[in-house]
Subunit: 124 residues, 2 copies
């Protein structure tokens, strides 16, 4: 148990880019709010997504809002909140999907969004 | 110059999750191949995206392919290759967009894809 915890600590402390042997799983979720112009709803959802960071299989999490980059046809700017996570593997991702904190997030914040889109990638 | 390089080295070596003061810019691009079933084309594009890692304003890069996560209605599995990058700020992202290595990538590999979709987020 102590060994497992120590190993976990080490894994978290090593920058992702030097762990070339690991094929990380990237989970990126985009949310479209029911009230897309509501800053209050946006901030509430951001707060909700941040509760997910307590799930132990998440190696890195970024909660995002639209960046003010150059407007181009290829850039989708219609969403309001994003959730980007890294997992060590598919098991870590599955642990997250079924985790009580994740299920509570859907229950408590699901009324805020009208659409969700997910991209799951693995390091090539 | 030496100071700038040293600062750059330090920034890269610190895990992203401890740099809470920084609002990183996340740039996630999804590619749909003209020949979606061609593993050769997929691998060639992966190789192409990896050439981008030499661009100095990229803090972290992940080149991805579809992960075999559970199929659900909300998961888009129609793309073939992804490119995920982190920048320190919008200036870093702009430096990347205009960089000769990026322009060479579009010129040399652009024939492989039929569609590109971009999401630009900033830490909330």
């Amino acid at each position: 148990m102590a060994a497992a915890m120590a190993a976990g600590t080490v894994a978290t402390a090593i920058p992702l880019h030097v762990r070339a042997d690991k094929k990380l799983v990237v989970h990126h979720v985009f949310f479209w709010l029911k009230n897309p112009d509501s800053i209050a709803d946006r901030d509430q959802l951001v707060e909700g997504v941040k509760t997910l960071s307590k799930i132990e299989s998440i190696r890195q999490i970024h909660v995002g809002v639209l960046a003010s980059t150059e407007k181009r046809d290829v850039v989708d700017t219609s969403w309001q909140v994003s959730e980007l996570m890294f997992f060590d593997d598919l098991v870590g991702q599955k642990t997250y999907q079924d985790h009580p904190i994740h299920l509570a997030f859907i229950k408590n914040y699901g009324h805020l969004w009208s659409k969700v889109l997910v991209y799951d990638a693995i390091d090539a």
